[in-house]
């Protein structure tokens, strides 16, 4: 893809045809990958890498997403995938799918939290259904309350 803006064409198709997104580009670079990842996330999937190999992860399998040293990791029950996408992008895309920011560095799948317990220094911790625990910062507790009570 060169520096020119991408041309966008939208075309209505017959109901029996399969809906699809095709990208015509000069090279598959990060921007193209980002667009593809966005489309996938809208369809209930995320792309993640383990040792350079790409996997499709159903969003419902994701427990939480964490940013560590400017790298973003997706955690399922047993595996950890790295993604090129930024945490704030995933937070925005997955907001409608029960994901919520609970600390500066993590976004959690609310459907995977088993219980909430107090932690040291006025914080809370989310106990996930796989037994893992992650910290909920005080700053994000009002948002969490509002979301859980349907007031967000």
């Amino acid at each position: 893809m060169n520096e020119q803006t991408m041309e966008i064409k939208l075309r209505r198709i017959e109901p029996e045809e399969r809906e699809r997104v095709e990208i015509y580009c000069h090279e598959v670079n990060d921007t193209v990958r980002e667009i593809a990842a966005f489309v996938k996330s809208r369809q209930g999937q995320l792309s993640g890498l383990i040792e350079g190999r790409q996997y499709e992860i159903p969003i419902t399998d994701v427990f939480f997403i964490e940013s560590v040293d400017n790298r973003t990791f997706i955690y399922t029950a047993k595996q950890t995938f790295e993604t090129k996408r930024k945490l704030y992008e995933l937070e925005t895309d997955l907001k409608e799918k029960s994901f919520l920011r609970i600390s500066k560095a993590s976004v959690v799948n609310l459907m995977k939290i088993k219980s909430i317990k107090p932690a040291l220094n006025g914080r809370l911790r989310a106990v996930l259904s796989n037994g893992e625990e992650i910290i909920i910062s005080r700053k994000y507790v009002p948002d969490l309350k509002n979301t859980l009570r349907g007031e967000a």
């Binding site: 909430i116 317990k117 220094n121 809370l124 005080r138 700053k139 507790v141 859980l148 009570r149 349907g150």
Partner: protein, 150 residues
């Protein structure tokens, strides 16, 4: 923790400390100086000790999330600073003598007890909040599952 939230939680601790200082004064005073009578200015003492007790609270402040180890180390440093400030304020350099040892030790012990109680009370309040959030979470999950089925 952001500064604003930190100040909010510190203020909550302040009122817990003031109440507990009142209780400690009652207990220690009844044991060591039951004959002592005070004027209205005595009402200032718990407020003052509460404010002094807040000074080392800033040892816990960090804009970054602290690890468990960092929290424990800072809590220990905070307690030592708290004992130092309050014992010095309570007795002054001239009263820090061997003959007052029992009183000083009781005072230091009551500071420790108040320190622990403040944390226990905060923990209980946090526990209640966590319990309420877990109940809200369960309702949310049932709502979302119903919505998915529909």
């Amino acid at each position: 923790m952001k500064l604003k939230e930190f100040i909010k939680s510190t203020l909550a601790s302040y009122f817990i400390i003031v109440t507990l200082v009142n209780v400690a004064t009652l207990v220690l005073g009844s044991i060591f100086r039951p004959e002592q009578r005070f004027g209205y200015e005595a009402f200032l003492a718990p407020l003052l000790y509460g404010a002094l007790g807040l000074i080392p609270v800033f040892i816990m402040y960090s804009p970054k999330e602290l690890t468990i180890k960092q929290i424990v180390i800072r809590k220990i440093v905070q307690l030592i600073a708290l004992e130092f400030i309050l014992v010095l304020a309570g007795f002054g350099r001239e009263n820090l003598k061997a003959e007052n040892l029992a009183l000083i030790a009781s005072f230091a012990l009551s500071v420790l007890i108040i320190y622990v109680l403040v944390h226990v009370i905060s923990w209980v309040l946090n526990l209640e909040m966590a319990r309420q959030l877990t109940m809200d979470l369960q309702s949310y999950q049932s709502r979302e599952l119903r919505r998915e089925k529909d």
